[in-house]
């Protein structure tokens, strides 16, 4: 066995113990007061606490304010096209299961233009941590109603108020076969946001975290009723879910015992219109991951390829008479 010297050991520890700065890159260009900043802080803290190697971590995003996220992480990042963060991330994970893959997507990106991918990503249940940065409005394109905008939202495309009931990302996600982790966080309770981000990261399978975040530019007051009244936020606590500090419980008294393995209850809680449930709604660690189901146990070596190709060619080969006899 190779024994490491004390110095080597110390050096390695230093190398593997990352500081917050190790994950920071560039100055975020989000507006002051934007909820994305809170998500970035929680995620950078997660990376540091978990000691994620920056080169083995990938943040994949689509288009929109939320999707600027990878630029502010000093990891690998993929800032792709509108709505397609999930299939890109799936490709990354399929090819490289050794990488830790996060997805940052917004309510327009995920629930509108990329909605088909959202449904199917839940079904594939790949080991990805997905953050839905839900500010209920299109930000980067300057204030258009999104699928999660509350009915009546006045925007540049709905100047007389939006016409449709908002889509509920939690109930939609919980309605899809193979769902394995659904949680909701809010940007104004950073402590719980971090706990949820951490639980999501530790879940094997697709962890879907909807984060209600404020948009100070276009919908500055939309979340005020919940932000200003702690009783309208319902913390979900359970020994198998999250448990909250005494300090937090003093402010957020409205707490509900909810076992995250209970799907029926999860759907009920998710359907709540008045209260904002915060915590883990559903978790099932036993749903198989697509990459595990599909990943070949064989290494793509030249020897294997040569043998495989020749076996296939044999099926279609017309041999000259003399060779035919030899082959037979």
């Amino acid at each position: 066995m190779n024994m490491m010297s004390a110095t080597e050991c110390l050096l390695q520890m230093c190398e593997e113990n990352f500081e917050l700065e190790d994950y920071q890159s560039g100055v975020p260009r989000w507006c002051t007061g934007c909820g994305d900043n809170a998500i970035l802080a929680a995620v950078q803290r997660l990376c540091r606490d978990e000691g994620l190697r920056p080169e083995k971590t990938v943040f994949v995003s689509g288009i929109g304010c939320s999707s600027r996220f990878p630029h502010y992480m000093n990891t690998y990042g993929f800032h792709g096209i509108h709505g397609r963060a999930l299939p890109v991330a799936e490709g990354v994970k399929m090819a490289r299961p050794d990488l830790t893959v996060f997805v940052n997507t917004g309510d327009g990106d995920c629930c509108s233009i990329g909605a088909a991918h959202w449904i199917h990503a839940i079904r594939y249940n790949m080991n990805l941590t997905v953050f839905l940065h839900d500010n209920q409005i299109y930000g980067l394109t300057k204030k258009q109603a999104s699928p999660t905008s509350p009915i009546g939202t006045k925007s540049n495309t709905t100047p007389r108020g939006s016409y449709l009931e908002a889509l509920n990302p939690l109930t939609v996600t919980l309605g899809v076969q193979n769902v394995s982790f659904v949680a909701q966080a809010v940007d104004w309770i950073p402590e719980v946001l971090f706990d949820i981000v951490k639980a999501a990261y530790h879940h094997k399978g697709l962890s879907f975290v909807r984060i209600l975040q404020r948009c100070p530019e276009w919908l500055p007051k939309s979340l005020d009723p919940w932000m200003n009244d702690p009783n309208k936020v319902q913390l979900l606590n359970h020994e198998n879910g999250l448990q909250f500090s005494a300090g937090l419980s003093k402010v957020y008294k409205n707490q509900l015992q909810h076992d995250p393995s209970n799907m029926d209850r999860a759907r009920e809680i998710a359907s709540s219109t008045d209260l904002v449930p915060v915590g883990i709604l559903y978790r099932n660690p036993d749903v198989p991951c697509y990459e595990d189901l599909r990943h070949s146990d064989k290494l793509r070596t030249a020897e294997l390829t040569s043998a495989g190709l020749n076996a296939e060619l044999d099926k279609y080969t017309v041999w000259p008479q003399e060779m035919k006899e030899k082959v037979a």
């Binding site: 990042g77 800032h79 096209i81 890109v88 490709g91 399929m94 793509r300 070596t301 279609y316 017309v318």
Partner: protein, 638 residues
């Protein structure tokens, strides 16, 4: 056990006398085109494929083409429902499906009518027609049969009524299963093919099934052979020289899939679409055995995005699609261009626009392939011209994609996809494989887009490489992959991405000329028309005409030397299967005529007055048609 049965039954067939009194000796032919057509599900496809394989075993050159109805189960006995196979058998090497058909086996008169109306039969074509309909219980069917029969006889076709159903019934209860082998037996007699080779085909197809199934099929085969021997007044032989090298007989889509297997790529992401899907079917069957996987995505866009994600993090990946799917992928293709992510996109072209003609061949997507995706999105476009090239083009495409960090589009079409042609069995080479994923640390100071000033090339950073962390973005970006708000940087990077095409172009060889390098007419083609064009050129050269052809494998970038080649000819024209305005149309003139795709490309690049001729009939252009077009062009010169 099977062996025993075959030998005894062969002996029995032989003992009845192989050459009946008065049998005419086999007429030697240089080539023949045979069609077997039925309602779908009656096995004409299988019969045709087997016939092709047997002829190939005999050493004949072959080209088989599937005749596919648009629907899975079109109504029985319908004109549009003809399903089957068309086999061109020759003494020498066959490069295309040829002209009209010489001999047809039809299981009913309606599918035959479909082929007659499509003008697919030679004027003196021999028709072997199932006769059961003449005595059918439904008087309407009888009337329809007699009407069609009389009409085709009157039209000069040589019609033989064959009691296939009746004869098969003496062997099996349901003649629908097995009539095809009876037909195969007849064809083996007609073309003097070894029956033992047909038995091999049956064993190959049904070997895993019940022994009784194998035996019944062999009996049907022999019965067909015997009946033909006893009753037909003609018999052919197409002399062949057996190849001394092993040959592979597959269609274009299988060749593509085998190319993916051989290229070392690990992931194929796709969404079902005709006529591309059979490549993915086959790949799904075999890819995992060599450590690969086929991902069926939720849609075409997701398939492309998945492939891009996998390519970005690992080895170059492939996505296989067809026209409408290719359109849907365009935005994602642009992302791969912008991010400089290697990617191979196969488009098995079909008739367009929109849903168009899903099962028919067309070369209508060349412009989309070259200019597709918004903005300037330079990508490599290649087009295999033979089944063999379908195989090798994927290996080349993978290598180019990874060397230049570019998107490589491979254009094949429904014609190549469903045609079979033997080619020399590939000998695997380690160099075909993608290199292992680079996970070495990035040297300090290196940048993710460190474009070379001359070639535009930059090293690709792959996740997992320490020190290479950056965010790839579809936004304009600088060498650090930082979003570029500066127009200057944007313009510079457009330049670098474009230079890569020029760098590739410098490595390409000039295309070769088929025929002399000087003459009256040069025909330029690309893709699946290769064999037909070259056959027409060969025929005309034998007649003393000074014509040649040149086939383009690379459409973007165009290889060097084309202008010099064109200068050797008095006139240059293109022949391809996409739309060009007809000069004879009243309002079409030189100011508004839309040229066919490759003609536009060549005219704009070389400033040469290239004429074009195109046909969009949903099927391969026939060599005879090309000959006629070239003759017309030569006449115009005089």
């Amino acid at each position: 056990m099977n062996e025993m049965t075959i030998q005894t039954s062969l002996k029995k067939a032989g003992s009845k006398g192989r050459v009946p009194a008065g049998k005419k000796p086999a007429v030697k032919l240089k080539e023949h085109i045979v069609e077997i057509i039925s309602d779908s599900g009656e096995g004409a496809q299988k019969c045709g494929q087997s016939l092709g394989a047997i002829a190939a075993q005999m050493g004949n050159g072959i080209w088989t083409t599937e005749i596919i109805p648009a629907e899975i189960r079109p109504p029985a006995r319908s004109v549009a429902g003809a399903s089957g196979n068309r086999i061109r058998i020759g003494s020498g090497y066959i490069t295309n499906g040829g002209d009209e058909t010489d001999l047809v086996v039809a299981f009913n008169e309606q599918v035959l009518l479909g082929r007659v109306r499509a003008k697919e039969l030679k004027p003196n074509c021999i028709i072997l027609l199932e006769s059961m309909w003449r005595t059918h219980t439904d008087p309407k069917i009888v009337a329809s049969y007699i009407e069609t029969y009389d009409r085709v006889v009157a039209a000069g076709y040589k019609v033989y009524e064959i009691p296939m159903e009746h004869e098969c019934r003496t062997i099996v209860a349901d003649a629908r299963r097995g009539k095809n082998m009876y037909a195969l037996g007849m064809l083996c007699y007609i073309y003097s093919l070894e029956l033992k080779l047909a038995v091999d085909q049956i064993l190959l197809a049904f070997g895993k099934k019940d022994k009784s199934v194998v035996d019944a099929n062999i009996k049907l085969l022999e019965a067909g052979h015997k009946w033909a021997e006893a009753n037909l007044d003609f018999c052919y032989s197409i002399p062949a020289t057996r190849s001394t090298e092993p040959q592979v007989v597959v269609n274009g889509n299988t060749a593509l899939a085998l190319g993916v297997l051989a290229s070392g790529m690990e992931i194929c992401a796709m969404y079902p679409i005709t006529p591309a899907t059979s490549a993915s079917h086959y790949l799904s069957e075999v890819f995992e055995k060599v450590g690969g996987m086929v991902h069926q995505a939720e849609d075409e866009i997701a398939a492309c995005a998945f492939a891009i994600g996998a390519s970005y993090a690992s080895k170059c990946t492939i996505t296989i699609t067809s026209g409408p799917g290719f359109s849907l992928k365009q935005e994602a293709i642009g992302l791969a261009v912008m991010g400089e992510i290697p990617l191979v996109v196969v488009n098995v072209m079909r008739g367009g626009p929109s849903t168009g003609q899903p099962t028919k061949m067309e070369q209508g997507d060349l412009m989309t392939a070259i200019f597709g995706s918004h903005g300037d999105a330079p990508k490599v476009v290649m087009a295999p011209g033979t089944i063999e090239e379908c195989f090798y083009s994927i290996i080349t495409a993978r290598r180019i994609a990874e060397t230049f960090n570019m998107v490589v589009v491979v254009l094949t079409d429904a014609g190549l996809a469903t045609s079979q042609q033997p080619f020399a069995r590939p000998k695997f080479s380690d160099t075909w494989m993608a290199p292992p994923v680079d996970q070495s640390p990035i040297p300090a100071g290196a940048k993710p887009y460190d474009w070379d000033e001359t070639t535009g090339l930059a090293r690709r950073f792959i996740p997992g490489q320490p020190g290479g962390m950056h965010t790839l973005t579809g936004l304009a970006h600088d060498r650090d992959s930082h979003v570029a708000y500066d127009a200057e940087i944007n313009e510079q990077t457009l330049r670098f991405r474009s230079l890569k095409l020029a760098a590739l172009q410098k490595t390409l060889k000039a295309p070769s000329v088929f025929g002399d390098s000087k003459g009256d007419l040069l025909v330029i083609g690309w893709g699946s028309t290769k064999g037909a064009i070259e056959e027409a050129v060969e025929t005309m050269r034998a007649e003393g005409k000074k014509v040649s052809s040149m086939h383009l494998q690379f459409l973007q970038p165009l290889p060097p030397g084309i202008k010099e080649i064109m200068q050797g000819f008095k006139k240059v024209m293109t022949i391809e299967s996409n739309w060009s305005d007809r000069p004879e149309d009243k309002i079409i003139d030189e100011t508004n005529r839309r040229y066919s795709s490759v003609a536009i490309l060549l005219r704009s690049r070389y400033l040469v007055d290239i004429d074009c001729w195109s046909e969009v009939k949903g099927q391969p252009i026939k060599p005879g048609t090309i000959r006629r077009v070239m003759m017309d062009q030569l006449k115009k010169q005089k």
